[in-house]
Protein backbone atom coordinates (compact mmCIF):
# COMPACT_ATOMS: atom_id res chain seq x y z
CA UNK A 1 0.00 0.00 0.00
CA UNK A 2 1.25 3.49 -0.89
CA UNK A 3 1.80 6.13 1.84
CA UNK A 4 -1.07 8.66 2.19
CA UNK A 5 -3.62 6.24 0.79
CA UNK A 6 -6.43 4.71 2.85
CA UNK A 7 -8.32 1.67 1.84
CA UNK A 8 -12.07 1.49 1.34
CA UNK A 9 -12.62 -0.64 4.50
CA UNK A 10 -11.14 2.10 6.68
CA UNK A 11 -13.33 4.80 5.15
CA UNK A 12 -16.53 2.75 5.56
CA UNK A 13 -15.78 1.77 9.14
CA UNK A 14 -14.86 5.37 10.10
CA UNK A 15 -18.11 6.71 8.60
CA UNK A 16 -20.12 4.02 10.38
CA UNK A 17 -18.34 4.63 13.67
CA UNK A 18 -18.86 8.39 13.58
CA UNK A 19 -22.52 8.14 12.56
CA UNK A 20 -23.29 5.53 15.21
CA UNK A 21 -21.55 7.61 17.84
CA UNK A 22 -23.63 10.65 16.88
CA UNK A 23 -26.80 8.57 16.96
CA UNK A 24 -25.90 7.18 20.38
CA UNK A 25 -25.29 10.65 21.81
CA UNK A 26 -28.59 11.81 20.34
CA UNK A 27 -30.41 8.88 21.95
CA UNK A 28 -28.91 9.65 25.35
CA UNK A 29 -29.71 13.36 25.09
CA UNK A 30 -33.26 12.61 23.96
CA UNK A 31 -33.98 9.71 26.31
CA UNK A 32 -32.50 10.68 29.62
CA UNK A 33 -34.14 14.05 30.43
CA UNK A 34 -37.62 12.87 29.36
CA UNK A 35 -37.50 9.75 31.42
CA UNK A 36 -35.81 11.43 34.31
CA UNK A 37 -38.65 13.96 34.37
CA UNK A 38 -41.20 11.15 34.15
CA UNK A 39 -39.60 9.32 37.05
CA UNK A 40 -39.66 12.47 39.16
CA UNK A 41 -43.27 13.05 38.21
CA UNK A 42 -44.14 9.44 39.09
CA UNK A 43 -42.62 9.86 42.54
CA UNK A 44 -44.61 13.06 43.13
CA UNK A 45 -47.84 11.47 41.90
CA UNK A 46 -47.33 8.42 44.10
CA UNK A 47 -46.74 10.67 47.13
CA UNK A 48 -49.87 12.68 46.34
CA UNK A 49 -51.86 9.49 45.78
CA UNK A 50 -50.76 7.94 49.08
CA UNK A 51 -51.69 11.14 50.97
CA UNK A 52 -55.10 11.21 49.30
CA UNK A 53 -55.68 7.53 50.19
CA UNK A 54 -54.87 8.20 53.83
CA UNK A 55 -57.08 11.27 53.95
CA UNK A 56 -60.25 9.78 52.47
CA UNK A 57 -60.07 6.14 53.62
CA UNK A 58 -58.17 6.08 56.91
CA UNK A 59 -59.29 7.04 60.40
CA UNK A 60 -55.76 8.06 61.36
CA UNK A 61 -53.87 6.99 64.46
CA UNK A 62 -54.87 7.09 67.24
CA UNK A 63 -58.45 6.67 66.05
CA UNK A 64 -59.64 9.84 67.80
CA UNK A 65 -56.50 11.84 67.16
CA UNK A 66 -56.23 15.56 67.67
CA UNK A 67 -53.65 18.21 66.87
CA UNK A 68 -51.60 17.32 69.94
CA UNK A 69 -51.45 13.53 69.80
CA UNK A 70 -51.64 12.58 66.13
CA UNK A 71 -49.31 9.90 64.80
CA UNK A 72 -50.93 9.45 61.41
CA UNK A 73 -53.49 11.72 59.76
CA UNK A 74 -56.70 10.26 58.35
CA UNK A 75 -59.92 12.24 57.90
CA UNK A 76 -62.40 9.39 57.46
CA UNK A 77 -64.93 7.94 59.88
CA UNK A 78 -65.18 5.12 57.39
CA UNK A 79 -63.80 4.94 53.85
CA UNK A 80 -65.12 7.81 51.70
CA UNK A 81 -67.02 9.36 54.61
CA UNK A 82 -65.08 12.31 56.06
CA UNK A 83 -65.37 13.43 59.66
CA UNK A 84 -65.81 17.18 60.17
CA UNK A 85 -64.10 17.13 63.61
CA UNK A 86 -60.98 15.55 62.10
CA UNK A 87 -60.99 18.13 59.32
CA UNK A 88 -60.99 20.89 61.93
CA UNK A 89 -58.09 19.24 63.80
CA UNK A 90 -56.19 18.80 60.53
CA UNK A 91 -56.66 22.48 59.75
CA UNK A 92 -55.33 23.43 63.19
CA UNK A 93 -52.15 21.41 62.54
CA UNK A 94 -51.74 22.98 59.12
CA UNK A 95 -52.12 26.50 60.53
CA UNK A 96 -49.72 25.82 63.36
CA UNK A 97 -46.54 27.89 63.51
CA UNK A 98 -44.80 25.14 65.41
CA UNK A 99 -42.24 23.80 62.94
CA UNK A 100 -41.81 20.54 64.87
CA UNK A 101 -45.51 19.85 64.49
CA UNK A 102 -45.37 20.67 60.78
CA UNK A 103 -42.39 18.36 60.27
CA UNK A 104 -44.26 15.61 62.19
CA UNK A 105 -47.21 16.11 59.85
CA UNK A 106 -44.96 15.77 56.80
CA UNK A 107 -43.27 12.73 58.29
CA UNK A 108 -46.63 11.12 59.04
CA UNK A 109 -47.35 11.31 55.31
CA UNK A 110 -43.86 9.96 54.52
CA UNK A 111 -43.04 13.15 52.62
CA UNK A 112 -39.48 13.83 53.78
CA UNK A 113 -38.50 17.10 52.16
CA UNK A 114 -41.42 17.32 49.77
CA UNK A 115 -44.02 20.04 50.27
CA UNK A 116 -47.75 19.59 49.97
CA UNK A 117 -51.06 21.42 49.95
CA UNK A 118 -54.48 19.88 50.63
CA UNK A 119 -57.78 21.48 49.63
CA UNK A 120 -61.25 20.21 50.44
CA UNK A 121 -64.16 21.76 48.53
CA UNK A 122 -67.82 20.98 48.10
CA UNK A 123 -68.73 20.20 44.50
CA UNK A 124 -70.36 23.63 44.23
CA UNK A 125 -66.83 25.07 44.75
CA UNK A 126 -67.44 26.19 48.34
CA UNK A 127 -64.18 25.72 50.21
CA UNK A 128 -64.24 23.53 53.32
CA UNK A 129 -60.57 23.85 54.22
CA UNK A 130 -57.15 24.52 52.78
CA UNK A 131 -53.98 23.14 54.31
CA UNK A 132 -50.75 24.96 53.45
CA UNK A 133 -48.36 23.86 56.19
CA UNK A 134 -46.43 26.79 57.70
CA UNK A 135 -47.83 29.04 55.04
CA UNK A 136 -45.64 27.59 52.32
CA UNK A 137 -46.71 28.62 48.84
CA UNK A 138 -45.59 25.81 46.61
CA UNK A 139 -45.61 25.35 42.90
CA UNK A 140 -48.49 22.95 42.28
CA UNK A 141 -46.49 20.54 40.19
CA UNK A 142 -48.61 17.44 40.75
CA UNK A 143 -52.29 17.26 41.59
CA UNK A 144 -54.44 14.29 42.62
CA UNK A 145 -58.16 14.86 43.03
CA UNK A 146 -60.38 12.47 44.99
CA UNK A 147 -64.10 12.37 45.76
CA UNK A 148 -65.62 11.62 49.16
CA UNK A 149 -68.60 12.59 51.26
CA UNK A 150 -68.93 15.00 54.14
CA UNK A 151 -72.19 15.34 56.07
CA UNK A 152 -74.12 13.71 53.19
CA UNK A 153 -72.60 16.09 50.63
CA UNK A 154 -70.02 15.28 47.99
CA UNK A 155 -66.61 16.90 48.39
CA UNK A 156 -63.42 16.92 46.36
CA UNK A 157 -60.13 16.39 48.17
CA UNK A 158 -57.25 17.82 46.15
CA UNK A 159 -53.65 17.04 47.07
CA UNK A 160 -50.75 18.96 45.52
CA UNK A 161 -47.15 17.83 45.99
CA UNK A 162 -43.95 19.53 44.98
Amino acid sequence: MMKGQVNIHFIISTVLFVSLSIYLVYLIIDFYPTHSKNIKSDILYSKAYSISELLIKDKGYPENWNENNFERIGLASEPYSLNSTKIIEFEKICNSTNLTKIQKLRDSFGLGNYNFVVEINYLNDTNVMKCEPAGRKIGKEVEVKRIATLNKNFVEVIVYVN
Partner: protein
Amino acid sequence: MLTKGFIRVIEVIIFSFILFVLLMPTFFHYSDINDWSKVNSLLLCNDLLYSIERNGTLNDVLITDPFTDGEHLMEEHEKDIGLLYNITEKVFPVFVDFEYEIKNVAPYNISIGCNCTPDQIAWLNNSILTPSYPTIEFNLLRVSLNNLSSTCDLFIIFGDENLSLYKSNITSLLKKGKGFVLIRNFSSEPDSFTKELFGINYSPGLSSEEDLTFNNLSNKRTAGIAKRFINNLIRINTTGGTGKLHLKNKTYDVNISGNFVNITNCSKTISEGETCTISGVANITLYQIDPLSKDWIDIKIASYNTNKRNYIFRDNFPKTVEKNNYTILSSGTNSGANARVLKNYSNSYENEPRVFWIYDYDKNKDDLNLLLKAGIIWASGEHYFIFNKKIPEKRDYCMHFYSGLRGNNIPFIVKLYFFGY
Protein backbone atom coordinates in the same frame (compact mmCIF):
# COMPACT_ATOMS: atom_id res chain seq x y z
CA MET B 1 -4.81 -16.21 5.48
CA LEU B 2 -7.20 -18.53 7.30
CA THR B 3 -6.65 -16.70 10.61
CA LYS B 4 -7.11 -13.26 8.97
CA GLY B 5 -10.46 -14.25 7.44
CA PHE B 6 -11.68 -15.71 10.73
CA ILE B 7 -11.08 -12.44 12.59
CA ARG B 8 -13.05 -10.53 9.92
CA VAL B 9 -16.06 -12.81 10.57
CA ILE B 10 -15.89 -12.17 14.33
CA GLU B 11 -15.64 -8.42 13.63
CA VAL B 12 -18.75 -8.54 11.47
CA ILE B 13 -20.67 -10.48 14.15
CA ILE B 14 -19.64 -8.10 16.94
CA PHE B 15 -20.38 -5.07 14.80
CA SER B 16 -23.82 -6.40 13.82
CA PHE B 17 -24.63 -7.06 17.47
CA ILE B 18 -23.61 -3.55 18.55
CA LEU B 19 -25.58 -2.08 15.66
CA PHE B 20 -28.65 -4.11 16.67
CA VAL B 21 -28.42 -3.01 20.32
CA LEU B 22 -28.02 0.64 19.38
CA LEU B 23 -30.92 0.61 16.99
CA MET B 24 -33.20 -1.40 19.25
CA PRO B 25 -35.09 1.59 20.70
CA THR B 26 -36.15 2.57 17.19
CA PHE B 27 -37.57 -0.91 16.50
CA PHE B 28 -40.14 -0.68 19.27
CA HIS B 29 -42.85 1.81 19.99
CA TYR B 30 -42.73 2.85 23.64
CA SER B 31 -46.11 3.99 24.87
CA ASP B 32 -46.25 6.61 27.56
CA ILE B 33 -46.60 4.69 30.80
CA ASN B 34 -46.86 7.90 32.82
CA ASP B 35 -50.49 8.47 31.85
CA TRP B 36 -51.59 10.01 35.12
CA SER B 37 -54.49 11.88 33.54
CA LYS B 38 -56.11 8.52 32.80
CA VAL B 39 -55.27 7.25 36.28
CA ASN B 40 -56.82 10.39 37.77
CA SER B 41 -60.01 9.86 35.78
CA LEU B 42 -60.24 6.23 36.93
CA LEU B 43 -59.67 7.31 40.52
CA LEU B 44 -62.44 9.89 40.26
CA CYS B 45 -64.72 7.30 38.67
CA ASN B 46 -64.20 4.75 41.46
CA ASP B 47 -64.34 7.38 44.19
CA LEU B 48 -67.62 8.66 42.85
CA LEU B 49 -69.28 5.23 42.84
CA TYR B 50 -68.08 4.54 46.40
CA SER B 51 -69.21 7.97 47.59
CA ILE B 52 -72.58 7.48 45.92
CA GLU B 53 -72.93 4.31 48.00
CA ARG B 54 -71.95 6.15 51.18
CA ASN B 55 -74.49 8.88 50.54
CA GLY B 56 -77.23 6.46 49.45
CA THR B 57 -77.70 8.65 46.37
CA LEU B 58 -78.98 5.79 44.21
CA ASN B 59 -81.84 5.16 46.64
CA ASP B 60 -83.23 8.46 45.41
CA VAL B 61 -82.04 8.32 41.82
CA LEU B 62 -83.08 4.77 40.85
CA ILE B 63 -86.33 4.71 42.83
CA THR B 64 -88.87 7.38 42.13
CA ASP B 65 -90.94 8.02 45.23
CA PRO B 66 -94.69 7.89 44.81
CA PHE B 67 -96.02 11.40 44.68
CA THR B 68 -99.05 12.62 46.52
CA ASP B 69 -100.14 13.88 43.14
CA GLY B 70 -99.57 10.85 40.92
CA GLU B 71 -99.59 12.94 37.75
CA HIS B 72 -96.05 14.19 38.39
CA LEU B 73 -94.13 10.92 38.68
CA MET B 74 -92.24 11.47 35.42
CA GLU B 75 -91.15 14.94 36.54
CA GLU B 76 -89.93 13.46 39.81
CA HIS B 77 -88.06 10.75 37.90
CA GLU B 78 -86.37 13.32 35.65
CA LYS B 79 -85.43 15.39 38.69
CA ASP B 80 -83.80 12.30 40.25
CA ILE B 81 -81.79 11.65 37.10
CA GLY B 82 -80.84 15.34 36.90
CA LEU B 83 -79.38 15.08 40.41
CA LEU B 84 -77.06 12.26 39.34
CA TYR B 85 -76.11 14.16 36.18
CA ASN B 86 -75.18 17.29 38.15
CA ILE B 87 -73.03 15.38 40.63
CA THR B 88 -71.17 13.45 37.92
CA GLU B 89 -70.71 16.51 35.72
CA LYS B 90 -68.97 18.36 38.56
CA VAL B 91 -66.63 15.46 39.28
CA PHE B 92 -65.17 14.98 35.81
CA PRO B 93 -63.38 17.66 33.78
CA VAL B 94 -65.62 19.54 31.36
CA PHE B 95 -64.32 17.72 28.30
CA VAL B 96 -65.27 14.31 29.70
CA ASP B 97 -68.68 12.84 28.96
CA PHE B 98 -70.20 9.94 30.90
CA GLU B 99 -72.96 7.35 31.07
CA TYR B 100 -74.23 4.97 33.75
CA GLU B 101 -75.17 1.35 33.00
CA ILE B 102 -77.37 -0.41 35.54
CA LYS B 103 -77.86 -4.14 35.93
CA ASN B 104 -80.32 -5.84 38.30
CA VAL B 105 -82.47 -2.82 39.01
CA ALA B 106 -85.66 -2.54 36.99
CA PRO B 107 -85.97 0.66 34.94
CA TYR B 108 -88.67 3.31 35.32
CA ASN B 109 -90.41 2.00 32.24
CA ILE B 110 -90.73 -1.54 30.83
CA SER B 111 -92.04 -2.19 27.35
CA ILE B 112 -93.90 -5.49 26.91
CA GLY B 113 -95.14 -7.33 23.83
CA CYS B 114 -97.93 -9.84 24.30
CA ASN B 115 -99.89 -12.26 22.08
CA CYS B 116 -102.93 -11.71 24.27
CA THR B 117 -106.65 -11.18 23.85
CA PRO B 118 -108.30 -7.90 24.86
CA ASP B 119 -109.49 -9.61 28.10
CA GLN B 120 -105.98 -10.71 28.90
CA ILE B 121 -104.68 -7.20 28.21
CA ALA B 122 -107.28 -5.77 30.59
CA TRP B 123 -106.36 -8.32 33.27
CA LEU B 124 -102.63 -7.62 32.87
CA ASN B 125 -103.15 -3.87 33.07
CA ASN B 126 -105.49 -4.01 36.07
CA SER B 127 -104.01 -6.81 38.17
CA ILE B 128 -100.37 -7.25 37.22
CA LEU B 129 -98.77 -4.24 35.57
CA THR B 130 -99.44 -1.67 38.28
CA PRO B 131 -96.68 0.68 39.56
CA SER B 132 -94.12 -1.16 41.59
CA TYR B 133 -91.22 1.24 42.24
CA PRO B 134 -88.71 1.46 40.64
CA THR B 135 -90.81 0.34 37.65
CA ILE B 136 -93.78 2.65 37.38
CA GLU B 137 -94.85 2.37 33.77
CA PHE B 138 -95.50 -0.81 31.84
CA ASN B 139 -96.23 -0.22 28.16
CA LEU B 140 -98.18 -3.19 26.89
CA LEU B 141 -98.33 -3.82 23.16
CA ARG B 142 -100.22 -6.57 21.32
CA VAL B 143 -97.89 -8.48 19.02
CA SER B 144 -97.98 -11.55 16.83
CA LEU B 145 -95.42 -14.27 17.41
CA ASN B 146 -94.60 -13.97 13.70
CA ASN B 147 -93.60 -10.38 14.12
CA LEU B 148 -92.08 -9.66 17.50
CA SER B 149 -90.86 -6.10 17.87
CA SER B 150 -87.32 -5.57 19.10
CA THR B 151 -88.42 -2.36 20.81
CA CYS B 152 -89.99 -4.46 23.59
CA ASP B 153 -87.98 -5.48 26.66
CA LEU B 154 -89.84 -8.75 26.98
CA PHE B 155 -92.71 -10.77 25.58
CA ILE B 156 -95.57 -12.49 27.40
CA ILE B 157 -96.89 -15.58 25.66
CA PHE B 158 -100.29 -17.01 26.55
CA GLY B 159 -101.70 -20.33 25.43
CA ASP B 160 -100.53 -23.59 23.89
CA GLU B 161 -98.29 -22.13 21.20
CA ASN B 162 -95.79 -24.30 19.33
CA LEU B 163 -92.73 -22.07 19.83
CA SER B 164 -90.57 -24.22 17.53
CA LEU B 165 -92.44 -22.55 14.64
CA TYR B 166 -91.04 -19.18 15.72
CA LYS B 167 -87.61 -20.38 16.78
CA SER B 168 -85.48 -18.15 14.55
CA ASN B 169 -87.44 -15.03 15.47
CA ILE B 170 -87.32 -15.81 19.19
CA THR B 171 -83.64 -16.75 19.04
CA SER B 172 -82.69 -13.46 17.39
CA LEU B 173 -84.50 -11.55 20.15
CA LEU B 174 -82.89 -13.64 22.88
CA LYS B 175 -79.51 -12.67 21.41
CA LYS B 176 -80.52 -9.04 21.94
CA GLY B 177 -81.15 -9.78 25.62
CA LYS B 178 -84.96 -9.77 25.38
CA GLY B 179 -86.90 -11.80 27.93
CA PHE B 180 -89.84 -14.18 27.53
CA VAL B 181 -92.64 -15.07 29.95
CA LEU B 182 -94.86 -18.06 29.26
CA ILE B 183 -98.19 -18.57 31.02
CA ARG B 184 -99.68 -21.98 30.24
CA ASN B 185 -100.50 -25.47 31.49
CA PHE B 186 -99.20 -28.59 29.79
CA SER B 187 -101.67 -31.37 29.07
CA SER B 188 -99.30 -33.10 26.64
CA GLU B 189 -95.63 -33.10 25.70
CA PRO B 190 -94.76 -29.59 24.39
CA ASP B 191 -92.58 -28.87 21.36
CA SER B 192 -88.82 -29.21 21.78
CA PHE B 193 -88.05 -25.46 21.71
CA THR B 194 -90.58 -24.69 24.47
CA LYS B 195 -89.06 -27.47 26.58
CA GLU B 196 -85.53 -26.26 25.97
CA LEU B 197 -86.30 -22.57 26.47
CA PHE B 198 -88.28 -22.79 29.71
CA GLY B 199 -86.73 -25.99 31.11
CA ILE B 200 -89.98 -27.96 30.97
CA ASN B 201 -89.82 -31.66 31.90
CA TYR B 202 -93.32 -32.89 31.06
CA SER B 203 -94.85 -35.87 32.83
CA PRO B 204 -98.58 -36.70 32.74
CA GLY B 205 -100.45 -35.92 35.95
CA LEU B 206 -103.67 -34.63 37.49
CA SER B 207 -104.63 -31.33 39.12
CA SER B 208 -105.37 -30.90 42.79
CA GLU B 209 -105.32 -28.14 45.38
CA GLU B 210 -101.83 -27.96 46.82
CA ASP B 211 -99.51 -25.76 48.85
CA LEU B 212 -96.78 -24.29 46.69
CA THR B 213 -93.53 -22.89 48.06
CA PHE B 214 -90.42 -21.24 46.68
CA ASN B 215 -88.16 -24.10 45.69
CA ASN B 216 -84.76 -24.03 47.46
CA LEU B 217 -84.43 -20.46 48.71
CA SER B 218 -80.67 -20.89 49.02
CA ASN B 219 -80.57 -21.11 45.22
CA LYS B 220 -79.50 -17.71 43.86
CA ARG B 221 -82.20 -17.60 41.18
CA THR B 222 -85.07 -18.66 43.44
CA ALA B 223 -83.92 -16.26 46.16
CA GLY B 224 -83.72 -13.50 43.54
CA ILE B 225 -87.37 -13.99 42.49
CA ALA B 226 -88.48 -14.36 46.13
CA LYS B 227 -86.74 -11.09 47.06
CA ARG B 228 -88.55 -9.32 44.25
CA PHE B 229 -91.82 -11.00 45.35
CA ILE B 230 -91.67 -9.47 48.83
CA ASN B 231 -90.54 -6.06 47.55
CA ASN B 232 -93.05 -5.56 44.72
CA LEU B 233 -96.54 -4.19 45.21
CA ILE B 234 -100.07 -5.55 44.98
CA ARG B 235 -102.62 -2.91 44.05
CA ILE B 236 -106.09 -3.50 45.51
CA ASN B 237 -109.05 -1.71 44.02
CA THR B 238 -110.84 0.08 46.86
CA THR B 239 -113.32 2.23 44.96
CA GLY B 240 -115.97 3.29 47.44
CA GLY B 241 -113.64 2.61 50.36
CA THR B 242 -113.78 -1.19 50.23
CA GLY B 243 -111.96 -3.92 48.36
CA LYS B 244 -110.98 -7.59 48.37
CA LEU B 245 -107.64 -9.28 48.94
CA HIS B 246 -107.21 -12.87 47.74
CA LEU B 247 -104.36 -14.75 49.40
CA LYS B 248 -103.82 -18.51 49.34
CA ASN B 249 -107.39 -19.90 49.11
CA LYS B 250 -109.15 -17.21 51.11
CA THR B 251 -110.59 -13.76 50.47
CA TYR B 252 -110.22 -10.90 52.91
CA ASP B 253 -112.23 -7.66 53.06
CA VAL B 254 -110.31 -4.41 52.89
CA ASN B 255 -111.75 -1.19 54.31
CA ILE B 256 -110.27 2.29 54.21
CA SER B 257 -111.03 4.73 56.97
CA GLY B 258 -109.20 8.03 56.68
CA ASN B 259 -105.49 7.22 56.55
CA PHE B 260 -106.01 3.73 57.95
CA VAL B 261 -106.71 0.40 56.33
CA ASN B 262 -108.42 -2.51 58.00
CA ILE B 263 -108.03 -6.00 56.53
CA THR B 264 -110.16 -8.86 57.85
CA ASN B 265 -108.27 -11.14 60.24
CA CYS B 266 -105.21 -8.88 60.16
CA SER B 267 -103.73 -8.23 63.59
CA LYS B 268 -104.32 -4.46 63.54
CA THR B 269 -105.47 -1.52 61.51
CA ILE B 270 -102.54 -0.11 59.60
CA SER B 271 -101.43 3.20 58.16
CA GLU B 272 -98.75 3.76 55.50
CA GLY B 273 -95.51 1.98 56.38
CA GLU B 274 -97.13 -0.23 59.03
CA THR B 275 -97.43 -4.02 59.00
CA CYS B 276 -100.12 -6.39 60.27
CA THR B 277 -100.25 -10.18 60.27
CA ILE B 278 -102.94 -12.55 59.09
CA SER B 279 -102.08 -15.54 61.21
CA GLY B 280 -100.85 -18.51 59.21
CA VAL B 281 -101.13 -16.56 55.94
CA ALA B 282 -98.92 -13.47 55.55
CA ASN B 283 -97.52 -10.23 56.90
CA ILE B 284 -99.08 -7.30 55.10
CA THR B 285 -97.39 -3.89 54.84
CA LEU B 286 -99.34 -0.89 53.62
CA TYR B 287 -97.18 1.00 51.11
CA GLN B 288 -99.55 3.71 49.94
CA ILE B 289 -103.19 4.75 49.88
CA ASP B 290 -104.36 6.49 46.70
CA PRO B 291 -103.74 10.12 47.73
CA LEU B 292 -106.35 11.59 45.40
CA SER B 293 -109.55 9.57 45.76
CA LYS B 294 -108.66 6.47 47.80
CA ASP B 295 -109.61 4.28 44.84
CA TRP B 296 -106.72 1.89 45.49
CA ILE B 297 -104.15 0.85 48.01
CA ASP B 298 -100.68 -0.65 47.38
CA ILE B 299 -99.47 -3.34 49.76
CA LYS B 300 -96.47 -5.65 50.14
CA ILE B 301 -96.88 -9.19 51.36
CA ALA B 302 -94.34 -11.52 52.93
CA SER B 303 -94.27 -14.71 54.89
CA TYR B 304 -95.20 -14.52 58.58
CA ASN B 305 -92.20 -16.85 59.20
CA THR B 306 -88.72 -15.72 60.26
CA ASN B 307 -87.61 -15.90 56.65
CA LYS B 308 -89.95 -13.41 54.96
CA ARG B 309 -89.33 -15.02 51.58
CA ASN B 310 -90.67 -18.37 52.68
CA TYR B 311 -94.22 -17.59 51.53
CA ILE B 312 -96.67 -20.46 50.99
CA PHE B 313 -99.17 -20.24 48.11
CA ARG B 314 -102.23 -22.46 47.68
CA ASP B 315 -103.94 -23.18 44.40
CA ASN B 316 -105.47 -25.85 42.17
CA PHE B 317 -102.29 -26.98 40.51
CA PRO B 318 -101.67 -29.28 37.51
CA LYS B 319 -98.91 -31.74 38.39
CA THR B 320 -97.59 -32.16 34.87
CA VAL B 321 -94.12 -30.59 35.02
CA GLU B 322 -91.34 -32.23 36.96
CA LYS B 323 -89.17 -30.21 39.29
CA ASN B 324 -85.66 -29.52 37.98
CA ASN B 325 -82.73 -27.11 38.40
CA TYR B 326 -84.75 -24.22 36.95
CA THR B 327 -87.74 -24.63 39.27
CA ILE B 328 -88.50 -21.70 41.53
CA LEU B 329 -92.01 -22.69 42.70
CA SER B 330 -92.81 -26.26 43.59
CA SER B 331 -95.13 -28.68 45.28
CA GLY B 332 -93.63 -32.06 46.03
CA THR B 333 -91.78 -33.26 42.94
CA ASN B 334 -93.68 -30.93 40.63
CA SER B 335 -92.84 -27.49 39.33
CA GLY B 336 -95.25 -24.56 39.15
CA ALA B 337 -92.79 -21.99 37.82
CA ASN B 338 -89.36 -22.06 36.22
CA ALA B 339 -86.86 -19.26 35.71
CA ARG B 340 -83.79 -19.44 33.51
CA VAL B 341 -80.92 -17.19 32.53
CA LEU B 342 -79.87 -18.19 29.01
CA LYS B 343 -76.17 -17.40 29.22
CA ASN B 344 -75.29 -19.08 25.92
CA TYR B 345 -77.27 -16.45 24.00
CA SER B 346 -75.07 -13.56 25.10
CA ASN B 347 -71.42 -12.66 25.41
CA SER B 348 -71.99 -10.16 28.20
CA TYR B 349 -73.50 -10.64 31.65
CA GLU B 350 -75.57 -7.49 31.27
CA ASN B 351 -77.36 -8.77 28.17
CA GLU B 352 -78.06 -12.34 29.23
CA PRO B 353 -81.70 -13.06 28.36
CA ARG B 354 -84.04 -14.29 31.10
CA VAL B 355 -87.12 -16.48 30.66
CA PHE B 356 -89.93 -17.28 33.09
CA TRP B 357 -92.72 -19.85 32.94
CA ILE B 358 -95.66 -20.12 35.32
CA TYR B 359 -98.63 -22.49 35.18
CA ASP B 360 -102.03 -21.03 34.28
CA TYR B 361 -103.03 -20.28 37.87
CA ASP B 362 -106.25 -18.86 39.33
CA LYS B 363 -105.92 -15.22 38.22
CA ASN B 364 -108.06 -13.93 41.06
CA LYS B 365 -105.30 -14.74 43.53
CA ASP B 366 -103.32 -11.65 44.43
CA ASP B 367 -100.28 -13.54 45.75
CA LEU B 368 -99.85 -15.52 42.52
CA ASN B 369 -100.46 -12.36 40.51
CA LEU B 370 -97.65 -10.76 42.48
CA LEU B 371 -95.38 -13.70 41.69
CA LEU B 372 -96.11 -13.24 37.98
CA LYS B 373 -95.39 -9.52 38.33
CA ALA B 374 -92.06 -10.30 40.01
CA GLY B 375 -91.29 -12.78 37.19
CA ILE B 376 -92.15 -10.24 34.49
CA ILE B 377 -89.95 -7.54 36.05
CA TRP B 378 -87.09 -10.02 36.49
CA ALA B 379 -87.42 -11.36 32.94
CA SER B 380 -87.29 -7.84 31.50
CA GLY B 381 -83.54 -8.11 32.07
CA GLU B 382 -83.35 -5.25 34.59
CA HIS B 383 -80.71 -3.63 32.44
CA TYR B 384 -80.62 -0.05 31.17
CA PHE B 385 -78.54 3.05 30.59
CA ILE B 386 -79.58 6.08 32.60
CA PHE B 387 -78.88 8.86 30.09
CA ASN B 388 -79.17 6.82 26.88
CA LYS B 389 -76.00 8.31 25.42
CA LYS B 390 -74.00 6.71 22.66
CA ILE B 391 -70.88 5.19 24.23
CA PRO B 392 -67.91 5.29 21.84
CA GLU B 393 -65.49 2.39 21.36
CA LYS B 394 -62.70 4.39 22.94
CA ARG B 395 -63.87 4.76 26.52
CA ASP B 396 -63.01 3.69 30.03
CA TYR B 397 -65.24 2.58 32.82
CA CYS B 398 -65.28 1.63 36.47
CA MET B 399 -67.76 -0.66 38.12
CA HIS B 400 -69.21 -1.04 41.61
CA PHE B 401 -71.34 -3.72 43.23
CA TYR B 402 -74.07 -2.47 45.54
CA SER B 403 -75.81 -4.63 48.13
CA GLY B 404 -79.30 -3.33 47.40
CA LEU B 405 -81.64 -0.36 47.27
CA ARG B 406 -83.48 0.77 50.39
CA GLY B 407 -82.68 -2.47 52.17
CA ASN B 408 -84.20 -4.79 49.56
CA ASN B 409 -81.04 -6.96 49.57
CA ILE B 410 -81.12 -7.37 45.78
CA PRO B 411 -77.49 -6.84 44.67
CA PHE B 412 -76.95 -4.72 41.59
CA ILE B 413 -74.11 -3.42 39.46
CA VAL B 414 -73.38 0.09 38.25
CA LYS B 415 -70.87 0.73 35.48
CA LEU B 416 -69.79 4.31 34.99
CA TYR B 417 -68.40 4.93 31.50
CA PHE B 418 -66.40 8.06 30.76
CA PHE B 419 -65.10 9.17 27.41
CA GLY B 420 -64.12 12.10 25.26
CA TYR B 421 -60.80 13.03 26.84
